[in-house]
């Protein structure tokens, strides 16, 4: 890479530019795409200021968020409630429901028949955490996981709930978690964006995803999540057109830089030189990114861990493996979305398909990071946007049922990055409906993730239209119980 950088004959103008413009630099320095190390030597620190430094020593340096889009049922994953099996068919007591508002899909139901998990549960590991039989691989690594059973939200529909989980507000065009981290911490790799997004579709009932979830909101658009695909053009427009090879691109860029240099002499605008540097970075990305996203050269033992699907571009397994590679290369925040978890009906048939697609690769990621010595500094998060009701939506039969949306309690797990391993945090009642101990609200979750990354959630602010905004809005408490 370095080599290619110095192939640029006009590299020398960099210093010229720096000496000219104290002003242009500030505006350049913020970008997640920009990039300590682009400036070598003493400018390096300067380029990272004013942000790019954590508030205190971080436990985690990077995040991989395996978002299970559509909301997997907590009652068929980690929150084991045998009483629901015993009481199957009986109505949810009004005292438990306690006035919870219902979605339009079940609001007109006259009965709310309880239903237990169709799938068995067993306890695993030192922690003795309960895990559903659908997830044999995740079960094997429970001692690395911190399972939180008491996540809760106010939203009861997908769009606002997802938006809340990702941006800290149900509505509005606020920056997403990854954009905040990019803004607060910058990038570790000069050739890659700080915030990358990977999308996959499952086999269950799906809900779409939308670019609002990885938006920069009011932050500079350099903090926008960059969608990677595992196809042949991993970043949009990365691939040169037919007939254009690396050398011909280099020739063009060299002449282009000469022309731009003349332009700079005329206009005196430091932005011209900044532009030259952006073209250089684009050029470096053209080599660095395809090398990174090429999964075909992965060794056998890695393919075995993630499963053969990991070689099929666009699958969840392929994305998880790609996430590991991006993260290992210094991408601050890798956000995956896997669709298909919205089981309003036909849950016993659909959910195993979803589980089959994600179980092995999710567990493999933890084992893989661990064997590379990266788990300590990488925070991995697995979960959806809300939980599902303990009663059946639609017709009730013992072996087929569906579950509606439930905001009051749901389960996610975190691992690595300074989170306590091998614990189950929080308790729900025996109906799996209400939290009885240690609730973790979305704002608390965000505050804690930021803390693990060395950021004080009350201090990382951005002033927009007169107000200082935070990821945690005006709320959020740390959850010390899950921090090492």
């Amino acid at each position: 890479m370095e080599n290619e950088f110095f192939k640029n004959k006009l590299n020398i103008t960099r210093r010229h530019f720096l000496s000219k413009s104290a002003v242009g630099l500030g505006s350049m320095a913020l970008g997640s795409l920009l990039i300590p190390g682009l400036f070598t030597g003493e400018e390096e620190n300067l380029a990272q200021l004013p942000l790019g430094l954590p508030h205190f020593a971080p436990k985690a340096k990077r995040v991989i968020y395996l978002f299970q889009n559509g909301a997997p049922s907590q009652l068929e994953t980690f929150d084991y409630k045998p009483m629901l099996n015993k009481m199957a068919g009986e109505d949810l007591p009004e005292s438990i429901r306690g006035g919870q508002r219902l979605t339009g899909m079940t609001a007109n139901q006259t009965k709310f028949p309880l239903i237990g998990s169709y799938f068995g549960f067993k306890q695993y590991g030192q922690s003795g955490a309960w895990v559903s039989d659908m997830f044999p691989n995740m079960a094997k690594i429970v001692d690395d996981l911190c399972i939180i059973k008491t996540m809760n939200t106010e939203a009861i529909n997908h769009d606002p709930a997802l938006t809340f989980m990702q941006t800290g507000a149900q509505v509005g065009n606020r920056p997403s978690m990854g954009a905040w981290m990019s803004y607060g911490l910058g990038s570790e790799n000069k050739n890659l964006p700080a915030f990358c997004v990977l999308l996959s579709r499952g086999r269950g009932n799906g809900q779409g995803v939308y670019s609002k979830l990885w938006t920069n909101g009011f932050l500079d658009s350099t903090h926008q999540g960059v969608v990677f695909s595992s196809g042949e053009d991993p970043i949009l427009y990365l691939k040169d057109g037919e007939g254009i090879d690396k050398d011909s691109r280099r020739r063009m860029l060299d002449k282009l830089a000469e022309l731009n240099h003349l332009g700079f002499e005329t206009s005196g605008d430091p932005e011209v030189q900044a532009k030259v540097q952006q073209y250089e970075m684009a050029y470096r990305m053209q080599t660095a990114v395809p090398e990174l996203t090429d999964l075909s050269k992965e060794p056998d033992h890695i393919v075995k861990m993630y499963g053969p699907e990991c070689l099929v571009p666009g699958t969840y397994a392929a994305n998880v493996l790609l996430a590991r590679k991006l993260s290992e290369s210094g991408v601050r925040f890798v956000q995956l979305y896997h669709q298909g978890w919205d089981q309003h009906g036909n849950l016993p048939n659909e959910m195993p398909l979803q589980a089959e697609d994600v179980d092995r690769a999710s567990a493999a990621l933890i084992m893989d990071l661990k064997q590379r010595g990266l788990l300590d500094e990488t925070l991995v998060i697995w979960g959806g946007e809300f939980g599902r009701t303990n009663y059946c939506q639609g017709a009730f039969t013992k072996d087929n049922y569906g579950r509606d949306h439930h905001p009051r309690a749901y389960s996610i797990w975190m691992a690595g990055g300074g989170v306590k391993p091998g614990i189950v945090y929080g308790e729900t009642d025996e109906f799996g409906y209400n939290i009885i101990k240690d609730p973790v609200h979305i704002h608390d979750f965000h505050a804690t993730v930021m803390h693990l990354l060395g950021l004080n959630h009350e201090q990382l602010t951005y002033k927009h239209l007169g107000r200082r905004y935070r990821l945690t809005d005006v709320a959020g408490k740390l959850v010390p119980g899950i921090i090492v």
Partner: protein
């Protein structure tokens, strides 16, 4: 003695440095507050309020529920009153900082007493403390917020008459001189033409236009071009593009399933309104209340055109997610309309008063819901139907062939099918509006009636009437301090890259102060007095000497005015996303310059819609258009809200989620990748190369012409040398590999012209592509 002097000197120097640093910080954050040293007279609006608002009002400001120690500092009554917990003390004592408890607290060494408290993460700089001290010494005089006082024309300052063209220049010159700056020279004719052409039509000047302008030496050449461009049909498109951001226009409903909607006839109306030069008063009132206004033809029903204009208030997102609670979303739509109204027309952050009284501005929660009441009368549903149930939820209106043949002849309806458009309507019985506690849709508080914040202008129902008609009258009242200022400022930002008030969406306490307050007021009043004539205003701006300056940046500029607040030069501005596309299509002569019609789907990387969709609805797959639809202007590219067109977002376009009044302007590697590899961009180079090859001209002539098409000026000798070197090296390399040339030329669906010499064509195409990638190409200098 000697050591003491040295020490003193050191101390003085240290102080100077400290003050210097403080003022630099000040200038960065509050660039328009003009102070490099302590002002002789400290002004509340310009010096003090920005500090108090930012650091104090959150707890000692307008929000009664969050007020600490019962103390409010945003009003003199509050600040001079006896303190609640110490009736002998006063927060402020005019003329006496030492007796002003507020001052003692901000300088306190005791962190438990110091204000703002350390836990707030807020601090005052020494410079700010000194300012406050001086202000108290001078009597601690409060003034009403500048933006809430109706603008008045002040005396036009004297200026160098050799330089000035119109009043704008007098104001600008005066301020410039105060800063020790002199105006730049007038820009070269070529630079001026490119600037004008992009600013007024969003398109580059053709080589013919360049020639004509260069040759014309009559004294009013410039004005002639201005007039021609203002009459150009693409003027309306350019102006409309900004309004589409404000109006959050899109071609899909937003939210997760994100089905198709057909609001494009409304977009055609906006273009028409600008081209027909509707006064801003009409533009505004038709959009806000076209359904309620008297029909110009005397009939009792509003005209279809007036009804169509009201689509503005239906452009918000609409959910199609089965299972939502109807009222929750209905309230969300009304909220969006209210917030959009505040931001678009008043440049105020109304949304901050949805859940509680505004923390900084005098907008109470009750005010918010009183405004909300105007928009709360629509007979609509939160969930009308799930995906593809409707492309235009009621209330709506059908546009038929007959309409398009008569009144609505500006609509580009391409087939005979009728088009449905969402419009505004009020229910026959007034729906009671309640304050919603904490903003929750189901937490009804007190009922409220139509109203607007009295701090702006009292809403007198006997004078204005009720409902949206009254709202419009209130907006257009000569005493409304915001309507004209906000619009004039937005136009200014459009042409200078920065508003006179930099925060074009926030004229409140937390917004920036105007850099040229007298100019802003003069323009606002002049605009209103001249019938809200938009083209007149635009012409005033582009005719000014200020606008016509060259954009050359000197060391002095960078040192004294890097942001170009004082306008001693023209700003260099990267073209907006839509115009980057327009530029390539127009300069390579493949632009389809048709106006309006349904939005189009040009080339887009495979799978973007497919991977993000729930699989439901007609927009779950991206079906690309072909032929002339591939070459429509950027503003017609289909906007599916959940997956907006990628090149648009990469160049900072709005995702149309909410009302946006200001785009960021970034410079990223992803933009470089688009310019180098987006087939739409590359295709332009290919077509231009082929058509130049068909011309009977020398290689030098072809290269020069390409340069003029792309850069809108003649090349310099040095530039030609570099370009020729590149062209020659590519030609000789391609000669060795004929297949490569074929591959390079194999881009885009535009018909090939059948040039026999593929090698030279490909080398020329490569060279043109390099020109398109020059920094200057997509800059308007």
């Amino acid at each position: 003695m000697k050591t003491l002097t040295v020490k003193l000197k050191f101390y003085v120097i240290l102080c100077l440095i400290t003050v210097g640093i403080a003022s630099i910080v000040w200038n960065c954050t509050r660039a328009s507050a003009e102070t490099t040293s302590m002002p002789d007279e400290v002004d509340y609006n310009f010096h003090i309020r920005p500090i108090l608002s930012d650091r104090c009002f959150k707890c000692h400001g307008p929000d009664a529920n969050k007020r600490e120690a019962n103390l409010r500092l945003d009003t003199p009554e509050g600040a001079f009153a006896a303190l609640k917990d110490n009736p002998k003390g006063h927060a402020l004592v005019a003329g006496n900082p030492e007796q002003s408890e507020m001052f003692l607290r901000i300088i306190s060494k005791d962190s438990t007493l110091r204000m703002p408290p350390p836990s707030s993460n807020l601090k005052l700089s020494q410079y700010e403390i000194d300012l406050i001290e001086k202000w108290i010494k001078q009597g601690a005089k409060y003034k009403p917020h500048w933006a809430f006082i109706a603008p008045r024309k002040t005396r036009v300052p004297d200026a160098d008459e050799d330089w000035t063209v119109n009043e704008i220049d007098n104001f600008v010159y005066d301020k410039m001189q105060q800063k020790g700056l002199d105006p730049n020279e007038e820009a070269s004719k070529e630079q001026l033409l490119k600037r004008l052409s992009f600013d007024l039509t969003g398109l580059p000047p053709t080589v013919e236009m360049q020639e004509k302008f260069l040759k014309d030496t009559s004294p009013n050449t410039y004005e002639k071009v201005v007039d021609e461009l203002l009459k150009n049909k693409h003027y309306g498109e350019k102006m409309a593009t900004y309004w589409l951001d404000v109006a959050r226009y899109a071609d899909s409903h937003g939210y997760q399933d994100d089905g198709l909607r057909t609001m494009w006839p409304w977009r055609d109306w906006v273009i028409h309104a600008y081209n027909a030069n509707y006064p801003y008063s009409k533009f505004l009132s038709w959009q806000l209340a076209g359904d309620l206004l008297p029909n110009p033809d005397g009939s009792t029903l509003p005209s279809k055109e007036m009804l169509l204009a009201t689509g503005f208030n239906r452009n918000h997102k609409i959910t199609q997610e089965g299972g939502v609670i109807d009222e929750e979303y209905r309230v969300e739509y009304v909220t969006d309309r209210t917030n959009t109204f505040g931001k678009a027309f008043l440049a105020l952050t109304f949304e901050c008063a949805k859940c509680h009284d505004h923390k900084y501005d005098p907008i109470s929660q009750k005010d918010y819901y009183s405004t909300f009441a105007f928009f709360n009368q629509v007979p609509e549903k939160g969930l009308f139907g799930t995906i593809d149930a409707s492309f235009a939820d009621p209330p709506n209106m059908a546009i038929t062939d007959a309409d398009v043949k008569s009144l609505l002849n500006f609509i580009n309806k391409r087939d005979t099918a009728k088009v449905m458009v969402m419009v505004m309507k009020d229910t026959s019985k007034v729906r009671t509006t309640y304050v919603l506690n904490r903003g929750n849709y189901d937490a009804h508080g007190d009922s409220v009636t139509f109203g607007l914040p009295k701090s702006i202008l009292a809403y007198d129902t006997t004078k204005y009437g009720k409902g949206r008609l009254g709202l419009v009258k209130w907006m257009l009242d000569a005493n409304n301090p915001l309507t004209a200022r906000v619009f004039v400022n937005r136009i200014w930002a459009q042409f200078f890259g920065r508003g006179i008030v930099k925060t074009v969406g926030d004229f409140g306490m937390q917004g920036e102060l105007p850099s040229h307050p007298e100019l802003l007021d003069w323009l606002a009043v002049d605009f209103r007095e001249n019938g809200w004539n938009v083209k007149r205003l635009v012409k005033q701006v582009v005719m000014s000497a200020t606008y016509r300056q060259s954009s050359v940046i000197t060391e002095k500029h960078l040192k004294t005015d890097p942001e170009n607040i004082f306008l001693a030069r023209a700003s260099r501005i990267r073209l907006p996303a839509e115009n980057v596309r327009d530029f390539v299509l127009a300069s390579s002569d493949i632009l389809n310059n048709e106006i309006g019609g349904p939005s189009v789907k040009p080339y887009q990387p495979k799978g973007l819609w497919e991977v993000a969709t729930s699989g439901r609805g007609s927009l779950s797959r991206y079906v690309q258009d072909h032929e002339s639809d591939l070459y429509r202007r950027g503003m017609y590219v289909f906007i599916k809200r959940t997956v907006p067109p990628p090149t648009m977002l990469i160049f900072d376009a709005s995702n149309r989620d909410q009302c946006e009044v200001q785009r960021s302007r970034t410079n990223t590697p992803l933009q470089a990748l688009v310019m180098m590899n987006d087939p739409q961009m590359v295709e332009g180079s290919r077509v231009m190369a082929e058509s130049l090859m068909m011309e009977k001209s020398s290689v030098d002539e072809k290269l020069e012409k390409a340069f003029r098409k792309v850069l809108c000026r003649k090349p310099k000798e040095k530039e030609m040398a570099i370009i020729k070197q590149y062209f020659d090296s590519e030609t000789s390399l391609l000669k060795k590999d004929a297949k490569k040339a074929e591959k390079i030329l194999n881009i885009g669906e535009y018909k090939h012209l059948g040039v026999p010499d593929k090698t030279t064509t490909a080398a020329l195409m490569q060279t043109i592509q390099m020109l398109y990638n020059m920094e200057e190409a997509i800059m308007r200098g």
